[in-house]
Symmetry: C2
Subunit: 407 residues, 2 copies
């Protein structure tokens, strides 16, 4: 089955590249169903790590009495299942964010959080500030609002004034800044504490919200934890209800993406507005899945995250070692402390998109060309490699094939 991770790549890559058409890309994607092709193109968890027994027991428990099943299978409130919101309050609290149930809403995967945030904050002609490269799915989520994009570059000399000026020149204002500070999709790179503080300064000076996509935050394999932008802003402002950060969390990377349960944590006022937007969008996220996630998280969240991290650490190490062995001179790559991706930068004259058909058809290995992640163009000589899905053996074999392709 072709996965969403590859799907959105197809549509998005087609939208961002002059060369290939979606049809050609879909044709290439069909080839990925051939097990002989090693794919680093997805962005999905290793299904052998799902806590199947715990999830299955939780579904059974949610339906074991008429009272429970009458709740689990019934309509429920848009803000989400109370006990799960309380669990998240505790989780955020352990991460230095003191909050209450009213600061937390459940969404149908954090993707829906991004979609609702776009609806709430982006007006006609507005500009959204994003990293370059950034998460494709966020560009898709904000897409219907047709924002302009401007860059949040580490160490860029853009100021609040210059960004506001450019936004005004394009017929709107800066709606918000969006970032993936931990083990970003696609680069695997994290923002340091100083960079996070600088970004908060910038958003404070512009008086705009900061959208913190924490999808990979739990997947740390090395290095010291860095406070979230939300934690830093709560420290600074003294209260979550005074914070400008909206933190988008998810259970997709830790427990299971197939249940579609994520959350948004932030100040009461925007959360209340986002709940109304969610009600209009899908009434609420699946009741029984919220109960199951609550049960599984309560029973074994930390052990599950430890299990996932141990497995992905081994795969990351295997990929980095294989890259050392097989990549040609002039190629560089990130060495992520967590997440699911390594980002490769080839010599400036190489075009990873142009080489993709040969990669898949001749070398039988797939990746995502980096250009797809660039809201404002560029990145032709870059590519994203996923290490969470393939086995260690296939990582070694696949990187060897890439080495041959790029030699």
């Amino acid at each position: 089955m072709t996965q969403t991770g590859e799907h959105d790549w197809a549509h998005h890559y087609a939208a961002r590249t002059r060369g290939m058409q979606a049809s050609e890309i879909r044709e290439l994607l069909k080839l990925l169903e051939d097990p002989g092709i090693i794919s680093f193109a997805g962005g999905i968890p290793d299904p052998t790590l799902f806590p199947v027994a715990e999830i299955s027991a939780a579904y059974t428990a949610a339906l074991e009495s008429p009272e429970k099943s009458g709740h689990a299978l019934q309509y429920s409130v848009s803000e989400g299942y109370g006990p799960l919101r309380d669990w998240i309050v505790g989780y955020m609290g352990r991460r230095g964010v003191a909050c209450t149930r009213d600061n937390v809403m459940i969404v149908t995967g954090s993707q829906q959080g991004l979609d609702l945030i776009g609806k709430l904050f982006v007006g006609t002609g507005d500009t959204v500030l994003v990293e370059r490269p950034t998460y494709m799915g966020a560009l898709q989520a904000f897409g219907p609002c047709e924002p302009n994009y401007d860059d949040l570059l580490p160490g860029s000399n853009a100021t609040a004034a210059s960004l506001a000026e450019r936004a005004k020149a394009r017929g709107g204002r800066v709606a918000f800044a969006y970032c993936v500070p931990d083990f970003a999709n696609p680069t695997g790179v994290s923002m340091g504490e100083a960079a996070r503080k600088k970004l908060l300064d910038l958003c404070t000076e512009m008086d705009v919200p900061l959208i913190e996509d924490a999808a990979y935050e739990a997947l740390r394999y090395g290095g010291a934890a860095i406070p979230s932008c939300l934690e830093l802003d709560v420290r600074r402002t003294g209260s979550i209800d005074a914070s400008r950060v909206l933190y988008c969390g998810t259970f997709s990377k830790s427990i299971s993406p197939g249940l579609r349960v994520g959350w948004v944590c932030g100040a009461k006022d925007p959360i209340r507005k986002l709940v109304l937007a969610k009600q209009a969008g899908d009434l609420h996220s699946a009741t029984i899945n919220q109960m199951v996630i609550h049960e599984v998280a309560t029973r074994c969240y930390d052990a599950q995250v430890a299990k996932v991290c141990a497995a992905y650490r081994t795969k990351r190490d295997a990929m980095l070692a294989a890259l050392d062995r097989h990549m040609p001179k002039g190629a560089q790559w990130t060495k992520p402390d967590g997440g699911m991706f390594v980002w490769v930068t080839l010599a400036p004259e190489r075009d990873a998109g142009a080489m993709l058909p040969d990669a898949i058809r001749r070398e039988r290995v797939a990746y995502v060309p980096g250009r797809a992640f660039h809201a404002t163009g560029g990145g032709e000589n870059t590519l994203r490699l996923n290490f969470s899905m393939p086995t260690v053996e296939r990582i070694e074999a696949g990187i060897a094939r890439l080495g041959k392709l790029f030699a």
Copy 2:
């Protein structure tokens, strides 16, 4: 627990009434948790009718092998689970709509279908044609696009030309027409075949899509089935891919709303666009829930619908009989052939909204004031009564209390 059915009433009623504020209404809603108060205000199924054993077995089956669980708990494609789309192809086929998998997409409840349709078709200043009264949730779903509304009145003398003219005067065009042809929420009334054909003529002349909300279509307790607008248009145009009707279906009323699984069926081209909009919105609906709905529908859809219809028929009959006994002269009400609601029209000088606090606090009975369902105002002397949720005994007792209030 306060249910969404009552929740959206609170927000919406507050938005549409000058008198009461959401806070007062929320206060009243809190009272509904008191079991001594008989509520006809919800719009939710009777949880004792959920096929719990079948659903529980289906969750267990979806997780019984690594291959199945690896799919059930994983990301999946935005258009939905193939076997479920195939089941829906068969279901629509039995209803006179020949279609293929490409004509069907899965959504997170049909509410999401309405939300995506609004995003796709409503431009700035456009007008949406709705019945008066109409489904509140549709007004919420289209709300973010800030459309103007115009009326689709049975036997109105509005013409394609006059409607287009009015839409133009308001700075846009007619985006589409929206209707709930079977046992409509809130009135319980169905459109006859002639009215459906007339509506299709109107939409054809305006060359706009017709959005058919078939949420209650399966819940028929009497009278002969009427062809859906989609079936009529397919007969007329000769092919679903030539049809202008987008049919929004759901498993919420037949199997369970808590799983959040519905569908949209229509021409390939708009379905493909809606799938891209869904991908941006929440990537996909919960994989495991789609597998469970497929399993339960395959095993026992017809028997389950027969069970639900038998139970609701008894409740409808009890409510109609109680209304006969207890309503004052001058009150009138609909006699629905299906669905979940009876619509009461009081004498013109009565205001059901103004009487609500007394109804709940003094008579300890609740309903939804009809004004909330009027996109363009009016309906002060009307109210919606739900008969799917309360028991026959509580229906009798509650209608007696209403009779006292309205006497």
